[in-house]
Amino acid sequence: MESSINQDVFEITRDPIDKSGLEARILTGAAGAIVTFDGVVRNQTRGRAVISLQYEAYPAMAVREMQRIGDEIRQKWPQIDRIGIVHRFGELQISESSIVIVITSPHRKAAFEACQYAIDTLKKTVPIWKKEIFADGEEWVEGSL
């Protein structure tokens, strides 16, 4: 969408996340630092081999909660330039990205802090759930209240 050029991005998608594209969409000349968190599917958990992860989302509410994280970041770090958060759902294979968070800012410190805040908060508030698929079964990952 042309209207999203150089605006914050909060999306969920069934398709592979276009990380470079996301970075390009939010990059402006004011940025001196781009900090990106990319969460990828690990090949094991607690020593047990993982085949894939199945993500389920409550799409409309997930996007609202991502926007809320964006609002909080702008309050805490007003110097941030742009925020991009894209979460994927569906079945993901090893090394595929489930979540990409990109923060741009004039200087790096705020970008690092805001990026960590975003992923820490997302894992507590954004309504998405994952199930680990093993060779011999599957298990919902337990979140905590």
Partner: protein
């Protein structure tokens, strides 16, 4: 007076795999009383009766009304969407 219920994640599986149902709030009356608007908790208890596997989420379940997190004492009105799900585990 009808509301919409959504189940996600392990709660959906516990609700016999039902992702979405409509619920007539008139069915929520307690005993012989004429009910006012039920709160989230009353609906939850009713659903846990209907889908026994849900009961294990008691105290470990989250609610959202119209896409906003809500507590058990939130009153529901016709047309509301109540989402019921376990603690989130995205990222």
């Amino acid at each position: 007076m009808t509301i919409n219920i959504l189940f996600f994640g392990a709660c959906r599986e516990a609700a016999d795999g039902v992702a979405e149902i409509s619920l007539d709030l008139a069915s929520m009356s307690r005993g012989g009383e004429t009910p006012g608007n039920p709160d989230v908790l009353l609906v939850w208890q009713s659903l846990a009766g209907r889908y026994p596997a849900l009961a294990r989420f008691n105290g470990n379940v989250l609610f959202a009304v119209n896409e906003e997190y809500a507590r058990g004492d939130k009153l529901l009105v016709a047309g509301d969407t109540l989402a019921i799900f376990p603690p989130v585990s995205g990222g």
